[in-house]
């Protein structure tokens, strides 16, 4: 049972002008596709892992559950496939009903004081992640919300690997390929614009495949 590239819930142009169509197309059809292809190649050597599913694979990353042979591949490509699948889902067109659900907003207010305070923390995590990586809003094991960031294609499901494990609710790709065509060196400009297309109200459930 091979993994497949999920279709976007919108057109490549839908997130304009905040994220440009060309970036969306390359990001989806090239970058994300490559993670899917490479993940399938790794799994094909150990078909018994298919039963874990994408979330299960990520949770097992960095543990003995994953054969040493493909440990790095699962971490990078299993991570990449999960991360981008979530990313597409948490975004929506700027004119569509947008912003957090009432439940999520209440949880954020309670955890961070206000949505603005949460945004500041999240933006700082996204800005200060050095090199490639992601910024996250997660639900931790104790039910508390937390903001964190990870390197490369690591994600908070990979509990054996990351500092702040949890179930991601929001994720923001800060690899340069996510913004370079439009924003060039200005990662802060991209991060600021992203809030025009995220979070999608319905996207509070973690991605399951």
């Amino acid at each position: 049972m091979a993994f497949t590239l999920p279709p976007l819930p919108y057109d490549y142009t839908t997130l304009e002008p905040h994220i440009d169509a060309r970036t969306m197309e390359i990001h989806h059809t090239k970058h994300h596709q490559t993670y899917v292809t490479n993940l399938n190649a790794a799994i094909s050597k150990f078909p018994e892992l298919n039963g874990l599913g994408l979330v299960g694979l990520n949770k097992a990353a960095g543990t003995e559950k994953i054969p040493k042979d493909i440990a790095t591949a699962i971490r990078n490509h299993g991570g990449g496939h999960y991360n981008h699948s979530l990313f597409w889902k948490v975004m929506t067109g700027p004119t569509d009903s947008n912003g957090p659900s009432a439940d999520l907003k209440a949880a954020i207010d309670s955890a961070f004081g206000s949505f603005e305070a949460f945004k500041e923390k999240f933006n700082a995590a996204a800005t200060t992640r050095f090199g490639s990586g992601w910024a996250w809003l997660v639900v931790q094991e104790d039910g508390k919300l937390a903001v964190t960031s990870t390197a490369n294609q690591d994600n908070p499901l990979q509990m054996a690997i990351v500092d702040t494990p949890g179930i991601p609710i929001l994720g923001l790709d800060v690899w340069e390929h996510a913004y370079y065509l439009k924003y060039q060196a200005s990662r802060p400009g991209y991060i600021s614009a992203w809030w025009n297309v995220a979070p999608k109200r319905e996207a509070t459930d973690p991605v399951v495949t």
């Binding site: 090199g131 490639s132 690899w175």
Partner: protein, 225 residues
């Protein structure tokens, strides 16, 4: 400064002033080096737009951040604030590494019209370590393409063994962290190639060999020996 015959108070003040001078002498402000060529001169291998952004924005940002961090570090050092000194370590590594790496990179490149293949001692060393230049490239390029996320591919020199070594580093970690002297570095952060090559990093790595400044690499090898 004449200390003989000075009062204890004057002596103490003089010593404190000298100590203070020592502190500020230790802080050297780094600056963005000029490129040895115009932004457009590496075309068609690397386009002018990339060169300008890479130099004026990315490298400049490392220099600016490095100077700010170094100043904070010196202040913390002077106050004996070790917690802050330790907290600043990663920022120093990122930004000093970024400055060092890019400064090397600009000198490692040459306009295609001035390209010359390696010769002399450098060529001998390449052949003795890798069989041939082509063979070295056939290892360097895929190894560098496989860097996960942001980082660099390197041809380095080991002072211990006298060998040439192919290595990669993550983010802006300098090659010295692998115990090697950098001879040739290739930046594979996406900003180094994305506007022109998009996700096709291997194509960038295929073309970069047309603009490697082997004279500079040879100079670095000589200096390292």
């Amino acid at each position: 400064m004449a200390l003989r015959g000075a009062s204890t108070g004057q002596l103490a003040r003089s010593l404190r002033a000298a100590w203070g001078q020592q502190q500020s002498r230790a802080l050297v402000t780094q600056s963005l080096p000029d490129l040895p060529y115009d932004y457009s001169e590496l075309e068609p291998v690397i386009c002018a737009e990339i060169m300008e952004l890479h130099h004026k924005k990315h490298h400049q940002t490392y220099v600016t951040a490095l100077n700010a961090t170094a100043e904070k570090f010196a202040e913390a050092d002077y106050k004996g604030d070790i917690a802050t000194m330790i907290a600043l370590q990663s920022a120093l590594k990122f930004n000093r590494g970024g400055h060092v790496n890019h400064s090397i990179f600009w000198t490692n490149l040459v306009p295609p019209k001035d390209f010359e293949p390696p010769s002399g001692e450098l060529l001998k060393a390449i052949e003795s370590n890798f069989g041939s230049l082509d063979n070295m490239i056939s290892i360097f390029s895929p190894k560098t393409a496989a860097v996960q996320g942001s980082g660099w591919g390197w041809l380095g020199y080991s002072k211990d063994s006298g060998k040439l070594v192919l290595e990669t580093t993550a983010n802006q970690d300098p090659l010295s962290t692998k115990g090697l002297v950098p001879l040739l570095g290739v930046d594979v952060w996406e900003h180094a190639y994305y506007l022109q090559y998009k996700n096709v990093r291997p194509e960038y790595l295929k073309n970069i060999w047309k603009i490697v400044n082997w004279k500079n690499v040879a100079e670095r090898l000589e200096a390292a020996k």
